[in-house]
Amino acid sequence: MWDSSMTALIVQGTFETLYMTLASTLLAYVIGLPMGVLLVTSDSEGIVPMKVLNQVLNIVVNITRSIPFLILLIAVIPLTRLITGTTIGSTATIVPLVIAAAPFIARLVESSIKEVDYGIIEASLSMGASPIQVVTKVMIPEAKPSLIIGAAIATTTILGYSAMAGIVGGGGLGDIAIRFGYYRYETGMMVITVVLLVLIVQLFQEVGMKIAQKQDRRK
C-alpha cells in the first residue's frame, strides 16, 4: 500500500498547504489590517470618528464572518474563476481563504489595537501627531506583541480552513486526507495527514508566541 509515490504526494501536499496558508494569511492581512485599524479609528470614541464607515465595516465583517467557510468556498467559485482562471488547486483556494480570513483578521487587529492604553494615544495627540502618525507610530508598534499573537491565531485558523478546501479539490494535505482517507478508507493516509497538520499548527503557534514574547517590552 505504501510506496515512494505516496511520500512524494505527502511532501507535495505539505508544501501546498504551507503555500496556501502563508499566501492567504499575507493577502488577508493586506486587507484585514487596514480594516481593523479603521474599525478602531472610525469608532465614535476613536481618533477620527466616522459613523457611516464604521457601521458599514462592522456589517461587512459580521456578514462575512457568519457565513460558514464551506458555503463561502462554493459561493465564491465564479469570483475564484475570474481571478485565477480555475476553481481547483491551491492557488484557486487562496481566493475564498482570503475572503473568509480578512474580516476575521480585522477583528483580531481591532481587539489588539484596542488594548493600547488610550493615555498613550492621547499623549501622542498632545504632541501634535496626525491620525496617520498615531496609527503607524503608536497604535501598531504598541500593539505589536498582541498583533503577533493574533497573526499566529490567524495563520492556524487559515490552515484549518485550507484543509477544508480539500472537499472541492483545493489541494494540500486536506485534499489528500479526503481523497485517500475518506473516499478510499486508507486510514494510514488519514493519520499521517492529520499528524502533519497538527505539527504545522503547533509550529506556527509556538513560533508566534516566542516572537511575541521577545517583542514585548511591557514587562
Binding site: 492604553d117 493615555g119 499623549a123 495627540l125 498632545s126 504632541m127 501634535g128 496626525s130
Partner: protein, 295 residues
C-alpha cells in the same frame, strides 16, 4: 476636589477636549478656530505630562524622547543631539536604552518631562503629574519643574489636588470647584487670605485634619514675610497681658517668602481681646474672626 473639572480644563488648553463654548487663546491666537493641521503645529509648542506618564512601552527612553521630534519632522542628527541634551537635563543620561518598564515612577516622569520639552514648547501642561509618585519623588520632580521654569522660561500649568504642590512651586493659583473657578490670584495672597469656603477648606485641611476650632473668640492671624521674622506674638502677649490660647499654627515657605498663619482663641473678656486685636492690626497683621467653617 475630584470631579471638579481640573483635567478637563487642562485638556481644553491644548484642545484634547473641545470646549462646547468659548475660545482658547495661546499667545494671542484663538486656537479653537484654526484647522486641525494648524492645531497640530500649535501642539508642538505645548508640552504635556500626565499622572500615568503615558510613555510608549515598546520604545526605549531615548526613543520616547525622539518621538515628538519624529512627529515634528526634525532631522535625525538634530533630533539625536536634542535627545542627549534632554536626557542630561532630566538627569538620566544612563537610562537612554532602558524601556519604561525598567524605570521607576520618578524616572518615567523625568523621561516624560524630557519628551514634553523636546520641541522647545512655550507652555508645559502637567495633569496630576506627581499624584502617582511618593512624597520624596514628588519633591524631586517639582524641583526639576521649577528649574525648567526658571532656566528655560517655560510657562508651567499644573493641575493638582495637592495644595503642597501649589505652595512649593506655583506663583499663581486658581481654585476650581464644581466646574467653576472659585478663586484665583497670587499664591501668596490666596494662601494668606483665602476668601471662598472651598479655598479655606483646601488650605486649612492640608497635612493634618486642620485646626479644630471650638468656642467663640477664635481668630485667624496671618503673618507675611516681614512680620514672621520678629516675635510679634510674644511681644503682643507681654504688652497687652492678654492670655492667648493657640489652637493651630502653621508656617510655610512660599516662593522664597516665609509666611504663616495661626488660629488663636482670645479671652472672653472683650476689652483685652480688643486690645490684642488692635495690637496685631497696628503691626500690619491680618486678623479675622473665624467661624466654624473647618470641620
Amino acid at each position: 476636589m475630584s470631579g471638579a473639572g481640573k483635567s478637563t480644563l487642562v485638556r481644553c488648553i491644548n484642545l484634547l477636549e473641545k470646549p462646547t463654548s468659548g475660545s482658547v487663546f495661546i499667545d494671542g491666537q484663538d486656537i479653537s478656530k484654526i484647522t486641525e493641521k494648524e492645531l497640530r503645529t500649535v501642539r508642538y509648542s505645548v508640552g504635556m505630562i500626565f499622572q500615568q506618564f503615558n510613555l510608549l512601552m515598546q520604545r526605549t527612553a531615548e526613543k520616547n524622547i525622539l518621538f515628538p521630534l519624529e512627529i515634528a519632522g526634525v532631522d535625525k542628527e538634530t533630533a539625536q543631539k536634542r535627545t542627549a541634551e534632554l536626557l542630561e537635563l532630566v538627569g538620566l543620561p544612563d537610562k537612554a536604552k532602558a524601556y519604561p518598564s525598567q524605570l521607576s515612577g520618578g524616572q518615567k516622569q523625568r523621561i516624560a518631562i524630557a519628551r514634553a520639552l523636546a520641541n522647545n514648547p512655550k507652555i508645559l501642561l502637567c495633569d496630576e503629574a506627581t499624584s502617582a509618585l511618593d512624597p520624596s519623588t514628588t519633591n524631586a520632580i517639582l524641583k526639576l519643574l521649577k528649574e525648567i521654569n526658571l532656566k528655560l522660561g517655560i510657562t508651567i500649568v499644573i493641575i493638582t489636588h495637592e495644595m503642597s504642590v501649589v505652595e512649593q512651586i506655583c506663583s499663581h493659583v486658581a481654585i476650581i470647584d464644581k466646574s467653576q473657578i472659585a478663586e484665583d490670584g497670587d499664591v501668596e495672597d490666596i494662601f494668606r487670605n483665602p476668601k471662598t469656603d472651598i479655598a479655606k477648606k483646601m488650605i486649612f485641611s492640608e497635612g493634618d485634619q486642620g485646626p479644630v476650632i471650638m468656642g467663640k473668640n477664635t481668630y485667624r492671624i496671618v503673618f507675611d514675610e516681614r512680620s514672621s521674622s520678629d516675635s510679634v506674638m510674644a511681644k503682643m502677649i507681654l504688652e497687652t497681658k492678654c492670655l492667648v490660647n493657640i489652637l493651630h499654627a502653621d508656617m510655610k515657605n512660599i516662593d522664597g517668602f516665609t509666611f504663616g498663619q495661626m488660629v488663636i482663641q482670645l479671652p472672653e473678656d472683650e476689652l483685652s481681646a480688643a486690645r490684642a486685636i488692635n495690637y496685631l492690626r497696628s503691626h500690619q497683621i491680618t486678623v479675622e474672626e473665624v467661624g466654624s467653617h473647618v470641620g
